[in-house]
Symmetry: C2
Subunit: 247 residues, 2 copies
């Protein structure tokens, strides 16, 4: 198995999820294999950042405004590579909007969250994806472009108000506070599109903290709650990473 | 806050616990402090090892037999230091029996599990500690010597059979399987010493996986279950690490 490097801490609860999902995937993978001693695990390096610094140094549309943020993430990924990571997983959707910048000088391949989700949609026949994410995710065309390559139509909540209600949910989840959050997400979904459209759409929990709202579904790539179909980006991404690691 | 380096993966479930406890400690620490943006977190590097390799390369009493194991852990701690870790936490009790060997060439201070537990015992007036751990822990005088410095009398289960029953419980916990494990630990405790002695003794869950058996007590440095007093080495050690980090 290849050594995995996880860029984490943005935020810490979903970093734990990636780590757990990868270790449990290794347990499952070794179920019918022969070995002596404890179940083999991939070696994993994690660089867990200070989200206070990263969020406070997010840029704007001004040129050069993302410099500090880019450098902070880039240096951490370089440390992972230096520690021997043979593939990189960024345990957060938001930074995928700036992959070119934060991967400068990195040689190890990155398991992209877009490619993991796109491949999953193709496999499951998903055509429409309403993406719930952080503000930088929902204000950038990166997710939409990433899905286009897979023939999937991605779109965001239609109003600033709906995006802001989502952010409030995400902020609670960053602190590990889950009560009431799944209900709030269900309500936002129903406010975004008509129920007719909702039937043919999957809600992509496209911020790795969002799936933590749905207890009991934390191990499933996709699931239904109150009649709404959800895609768990954390599970889809982490399992894609393990698949690469075991190749 | 200082950057923390966690040597983990031995095994992975307790590594998650250390990470969670440190992040939650940072949330608590910042409760009444002023800052803008998300709650500040210490930067954390984790090197998660393959426990199959480490356990299969444990040594014996033969000179030189621990060479591979020592080198494996030493190299990982060096990677943590190279990634900027300013203090090292080994998320497992067992390796503390060979601190001299695995810290060769390391300059960053290590938050020792013995010192963390010894200080906690002094604070709480604990005098007698029955230590439950892995076989290398229970076959080495290191824990007992570590406690002597704090005036605490530590001892292990009295028979090979009792030690082996404990190992079976630990092996289940390494895989994240918890059902029935707390009952089994309670029974082993009662088989080790008379109930008179048990009243004046605290059972030290001295393998970082053991506290996972007691759901609902995972955040407490010490707790009681079925009339038996337990010390959670994971919580005591992780909180001592955060205290050092915030100094």
């Amino acid at each position: 198995m290849k050594k995995i490097g996880i860029l984490g801490g943005i935020g810490w609860p979903s970093t734990m999820e990636y780590y757990r999902l990868i270790c449990e995937a290794s347990q499952l993978y070794h179920n019918n294999k022969e070995f002596s001693g404890p179940i083999p695990m991939p070696e994993i390096s994690i660089e867990s950042l200070n989200m206070n610094f990263s969020v406070n140094n997010r840029g704007s549309s001004q040129p050069g405004s993302w410099y500090k943020w880019d450098s902070y993430l880039n240096a951490a990924i370089k440390r992972l590579e230096h520690s021997g990571a043979e593939l990189i997983v960024i345990a957060s959707v938001t930074p995928h909007g700036r992959l070119n910048e934060i991967l400068e000088g990195i040689n190890a391949p990155v398991v992209s969250v877009y490619e993991s989700i796109g491949a999953h949609c193709n496999e499951k026949g998903i055509k429409n994806l309403l993406v719930f994410g952080t503000m930088p995710t929902m204000n950038s065309p990166a997710f939409i472009c990433g899905m286009e390559e897979f023939g999937v139509k991605a779109f965001y909540p239609p109003t600033v108000e709906l995006k802001e209600s989502l952010l409030k949910v995400i902020e609670r989840l960053y602190q590990g506070k889950t009560d009431g959050t799944s209900l709030a997400i269900n309500e936002i979904a129903r406010s975004c599109i008509s129920s007719d459209l909702l039937d043919n759409t999957v809600i992509c929990l496209g911020c790795t903290e969002l799936p933590l709202a749905f207890e009991g579904f934390n191990d499933m790539p996709s699931f239904e709650s109150s009649g709404i179909k959800y895609l768990n980006s954390t599970v889809v991404h982490a399992l894609a990473a393990f698949k690469e690691c075991a190749k």
